[in-house]
């Protein structure tokens, strides 16, 4: 029951209620800019691009929210928020915000919302964003749509957040009609990265947190950074080759890896492949795995379920290899090949290797 109902609540949604009086003052679009250890998560800039479009459509301002400990890097982040489209930057600098912890971050963001009253609040669907969004929405008792794949505002200026529904074939559009702010999270790479405009500037609004370290229960003892090596960087790869259940057994994924290696790209897979234990979870592509936006995406033996589609739709060129001419993937691929992936993948690897002057990796 924790997920959005799969049937539209026709009666209730159809019944147009006036927005309660005290919510009418809520205006402007906000994006929470995720700064962890001095670095902005790219999803925040992607959201700024999307937030700018929503704000322009509504005829309101776009604001960024920056939380952290006082540092030169944080000042730089504030300037960057203007470059990425912010008219206003709300900033809360406090020593207790040096590293992410739920309690002070929830307090800072809810206080800011209650003071300045935005109509829309967007966060990245990262481990940080989801941790924070869940607490803030519950504190404010408002609606929150997770992992939206499309954001828009309708004629009534209500935020329309679209996401796949359970089952694999349908999308649903979710609204928060009678509460403010309307909150949504979006996964990294779902929205395009906007071009920064370094001539833009904006206004800065300060906020004080008013918490002491003694008030905060949880302490950060250490941060163990991931080893940079051998980790998949699917989300930001230029070329991705993926295999699905059509590859039939784990050995055949060598064909996928070999093509990816020849192209200097990353390899990935669909969810059932991970569930079978044929590939690690970090290689999964789709709504619940990595969202990718490469220049070239080659999908072999993948049927093209909606949860997969939403994770790859931002690719410049999608090439699908599938034995079934009616596979859903051909509805959104640019190039389609109705053939056995087990023969096409090695042939394609050889063709690229010949053309690129690379020796085909031992076949």
């Amino acid at each position: 029951m924790a997920n959005p109902p799969t049937k539209p609540a026709a009666g209730r949604a159809g019944m147009k209620k006036e927005l309660p009086e005290h919510f009418k003052a809520y205006r402007h679009v906000w994006v929470y800019v995720e700064v962890e250890r001095g670095r902005v998560h790219p999803v925040s800039w992607e959201l700024m691009g999307e937030g700018r479009k929503l704000a322009d459509k509504l005829g309101v301002e776009l604001a960024a929210v920056v939380l952290g400990a006082k540092s030169p890097e944080l000042k730089q982040v504030v300037r960057q928020t203007y470059h990425y489209g912010a008219d206003i930057c709300y900033i809360c600098e406090d020593a207790t915000l040096a590293e992410y912890r739920n309690q002070p971050y929830t307090r800072a963001l809810t206080d800011l919302v209650n003071t300045h009253k935005p109509e829309i609040l967007l966060l990245g669907a990262t481990t940080l964003g989801r941790d924070l969004a869940g607490s803030v929405a519950t504190t404010l008792k408002t609606g929150l749509t997770a992992d939206s794949t499309e954001l828009d505002v309708d004629d009534e200026k209500s935020l329309a957040a679209t996401r796949p529904t359970f089952g694999g074939t349908l999308l649903c559009t979710i609204h928060t009609l009678n509460f403010r702010p309307q909150m949504a999270t979006v996964r990294p790479r779902v929205m395009a990265m906007p071009e920064p405009d370094t001539t833009r500037s904006g206004r800065m609004v300060w906020h004080t947190l008013g918490m002491n370290e003694a008030d905060i229960v949880t302490k950060v003892l250490d941060f163990v950074a991931d080893a940079a090596s051998n980790k998949a960087n699917l989300a930001y790869a230029d070329i991705v080759v993926a295999g699905g259940m059509g590859l039939q057994n784990p050995q055949n994924f060598e064909l996928v890896k070999r093509l990816a290696a020849t192209l200097g790209g990353e390899y990935g897979c669909s969810r059932p492949v991970v569930q079978k234990g044929w590939m690690p979870a970090e290689r999964q592509i789709g709504q619940t795995g990595n969202t990718i936006r490469p220049k070239l995406y080659i999908a072999a033996g993948i049927s093209g379920a909606i949860q997969h589609r939403v994770g790859v739709e931002g690719s410049d060129l999608i090439v699908a290899i599938n034995t079934d001419p009616n596979a859903k993937i051909f509805e959104f691929a640019h190039l389609g090949i109705v053939a056995d992936a087990l023969t096409v993948l090695p042939a394609l690897t050889d063709a690229f290797a010949r053309r690129l002057g690379v020796r085909a990796l031992a076949s």
Binding site: L128, A137, T138, K141, V217, T218, L335
Partner: protein, 278 residues
Amino acid sequence: MHIVVCIKQVPDSAQIRVHPVTNTIMRQGVPTIINPYDLFALEEAMRLRDEFGGRVTVLCMGPPMAEDALRRALGLGADQAVLITDRRFAGSDTLATSFALATALETLGKEHPIDIVFTGKQTIDGDTAQVGPGIACRLELNQLTYVAAIDSLDKAKGEIVARRRAEGGVQVLKSKLPCLITMLEGANTLRRGSVQDMLRAARAKVTVWSAEDAGVGDLLKCGLRGSPTVVKKVFAPQPREEPAEMVAVEGKTPAQIGDAILDLVFARQPKLEAELTA
């Protein structure tokens, strides 16, 4: 120690079939399972119980048939099971769900104060990861999400040290009980229930609570009425406007097919060819 694990019964997604014509989910005959992520939470709870003593209660909100999921958890070694089920919970979004579960947890805690609430990282059907933080927030529990491992627990001091998955690394956090932990997949290996547990589970009584039994006073905060989000539209994704260009394969050798694909790829992405050959 009293540890409560919130679990959800979900359809086995590997077995979901979609009607080819109507595009609707064919639920009939689809087996249900405990949300796989919740099993890591259950195992961790039982591990702590085995080490520090106490009991593990499993709590589930769902239709009457969700009793199966709870019985399965008892078979794996949980001590007590509570199902909150009420038609008035139907249509709950994450805010209404966390309200119902938090209320039931408060009621449970009156009997035996709760030290830790566990949930899975997220469910496989809704994927929101919002209910755990929602419960923590409502009950003012210290919130530890995406926990990969619990390093230590000091029962006397009420202190816990846990490793939390963050972007680009792992945070080692020291916090206090009572807390809410959402457990990451792969954090442990689920035990196989003992024969005694299986036998006990078959006979055990699952406590079934209505909204009132669970302690819900304000029914307006439940179900559809307590859910600020509204699904306005459900629709099938549309094919891309420009249909896929199909590469002719009839009568061609694999090598010819390979070359044909490559030509088309480079024709559409000339920059890519330059980058790759550079």
